[in-house]
Amino acid sequence: MEIKPFTGKTIKCIEYDGKPAVDLTSLGIGPERYFEMYRWLVFTRAVDDRGYILVRQGRAGFYAQTAGQEASQVGSALPLQPQDWMYGDHRSQGSQLVKGLSTAEWFAHILGKSLDPTAGRSMPGHIGRNSLHIVPPSSTVGNQITEAVGTAMAQRIKKTDEVTICYFGDGATSEGDFHVGMNFAAVYGSPCILFCQNNQYAISVRLEEQTHTKTIAEKAHAYGMDGYLVDGNDVLAVYAVTKHCVDRARRGDGPALIEAYTYRYGPHSSADDDTRYRPKGELEMWRRERDPVTRFRNFLESQKLWDADKEAELLAEIKAQVAAAMEEAEKSPVPEPLSVFDHVYEKLTPHLEWERKELAAEMAAGAQG
């Protein structure tokens, strides 16, 4: 299987019905890696479903579901190594889990508990973990693209063997930071993978209203960079294309733009009402015909690698794992109010010390009165 930029065709490994679309031997991976992929797909979906319940219970202020985009996230994170860096966006929890994020920490993050490595500082979907090289996603759409490129520039300057991956949506490509980041990446030949999850919507705005090109991938032309269009619901194809780009970047052959064409099932976020803008039947079609999890299971079954027993076993195992993680998250306390002043700077400034004392006094007064 040859992986080339700008072919005008979507790179695909398996058909919607699960049949191989190309000769898969060249991918050089076997059943173990397939099972790993499938496990991550199912696991991501399970974690996402569980997270969303928390919002419906009113226990989180916001949540952006990842359902429908599992193949994009899992397939692109699996080729990474521990030393690599990851910048996600508000919808990349699948990638973060694959990179090593603890599920309990993720749930604690949604709940704003102390176990959250970011200590409840941000709304759900903005978790980070220094030890895993996962930078906490920003809320401002697109502004981390330049950062990710900066990290990749540092990786090159320091002569490391690392690469950086940066996730963003189709909408983000309209922001100036996309342009600036792409240009910097290309000018400095930085080992950066710019990974666009094109789920065809930025909240309510469809890609046709977002930009005047058919694809995102072709935008790479403007930067002298390679652009790849891949079927984002085909975990094998996403894996293969990302691995290709990661390997090239690691070798010093520079950055790449990857567009994973996919679809989100949920509303934009828990605050959205997607019935206002989604054409009738579209969501149902994607769920029914193109679901990334089902598609890969069909593939495994077509290869006689999977059956109902294995499926039941996997689901049970994941269910238990998710429940245990949630339990751990629940047990974690909420952050202590006075910690609101920590980490503005490395040390408390005189002003912050004073404000901290004031708040402590207020709290004491409140406790009394």
């Binding site: 202020g61 508990k113 200590a119 500082r121 709304m123 759409v141 209203e209 609101v340 708040l359």
Partner: protein, 331 residues
């Protein structure tokens, strides 16, 4: 989609704003709206709901995801005779268009020596109390107040919201119109039928009192009222001044209330340091020091980024206001 602005007397702030847009667009075909998701989606807070059905895609423009484009294009439209009302989805996300706003929109009249004006409005929800975390909660008025050429308007109730928005649209100068999202739907008010103006540059004595002045605006006005209610028990009568227009601001109103009470508490959601409250305090300390009988207190958000889980510890409370009132009175 039914437009819910007609024949209605009780309005939330969202509805009041929507009716201002609706009526101004009816009145003047040069008024256009632009922003992210303002079309069929009706805006994420539904302020523009129904507008596209009435006025079509040329006047209710769903834009690509780029604030620099929204603000830059709005200015270009204004120069060519339209009256753009740009929506920034959350004011925290204005910054990709910050240069366009402070370098171009604010200064076009000045640097063209009055040849070109920038009659346009940038509307945006601001402020905390909605579990929005660091980027859906901020109160960045200090940046815009510190930018000569911009006007900055913040309503605190549905009546003012409609009248101030109409005045802003009709104003020849660019207005940053900050909408307190926490109280978007907190109360309903009776509104007169049809358009009306609430003048820019005029504060309102939101509640009369004689012992101490709480000077504030936007979503902190209800907090000031709560504090005033609490202080009443101690026999303290609090005057609440609602600035409404932060820039250019109503210096007369400040002088009057200070002359009356001699004690000032300024109240804002934003961090204290470098905030708008400092401007008011400094104005009083320069122009009205002879009336002052106690420290000029500032009650504000903490000097930290806006937190998520600890939002309650962050936001100014009426108790915090009461403590400040007591401090200046017991000086």
């Amino acid at each position: 989609m039914a437009v819910e602005v007609k024949k209605q007397t009780q309005f939330t702030m969202v509805q009041a704003l929507r009716s201002a847009l609706f009526e101004e667009m009816e009145r003047d075909e040069n008024v256009v709206c632009l922003g992210e998701d303002i079309g069929p989606r009706g805006g994420v807070f539904l302020v523009t709901e129904g507008l596209i059905d009435r006025f079509g895609k040329d006047r209710v423009i769903d834009t690509p995801l780029a604030e620099a484009g929204i603000i830059g294009a709005a200015l270009g439209m204004a120069l060519r005779g339209l009256k753009p009302v740009a929506e920034i989805q959350f004011i925290d996300f204005l910054y990709p268009g910050f240069d366009n706003l402070v370098s171009e929109v604010a200064k076009m009249r000045y640097r063209s020596a009055g040849q070109f004006g920038a009659s346009m409005v940038v509307r945006s929800p601001y402020g905390g109390g909605v579990r929005g975390g660091g980027y859906h909660s901020q109160s960045p008025e200090a940046y815009y107040v510190a930018t000569p050429g911009l006007k900055v308007v913040v309503p605190s109730n549905p009546y003012d919201a409609k009248g101030l928005l109409i005045s802003s649209i009709r104003d020849p100068d660019p207005v940053v119109f900050m909408e307190p999202k926490k109280i978007y739907r907190a109360v309903k008010s009776e509104l007169p039928e049809g358009p009306y103006e609430v003048p820019l540059g005029k504060a309102a004595v939101s509640r009369a009192g004689k012992h101490v002045s709480v000077i504030t605006f936007g979503a902190m006005v209800p907090v000031a009222w709560e504090a005033a209610d609490k202080m009443k028990a101690d026999g303290v009568e609090v005057e609440v001044v609602d600035m409404r227009t932060l820039q250019p601001y109503d210096t007369d109103a400040i002088m009057q209330t200070v002359a009356k009470t001699g004690h000032v508490v300024v109240l804002q959601e934003a961090p204290r340091i470098g905030g708008y409250g400092g401007e008011i305090a400094a104005f009083v300390a320069e122009q009205a020091i002879e009336y002052i009988e106690g420290p000029i207190m500032r009650v504000a958000g903490h000097d930290t980024p806006f937190p998520y889980a600890l939002e309650k510890a962050y936001m100014p409370t009426s108790d915090r206001v009461c403590r400040a009132i007591k401090k200046t009175l017991n000086f």
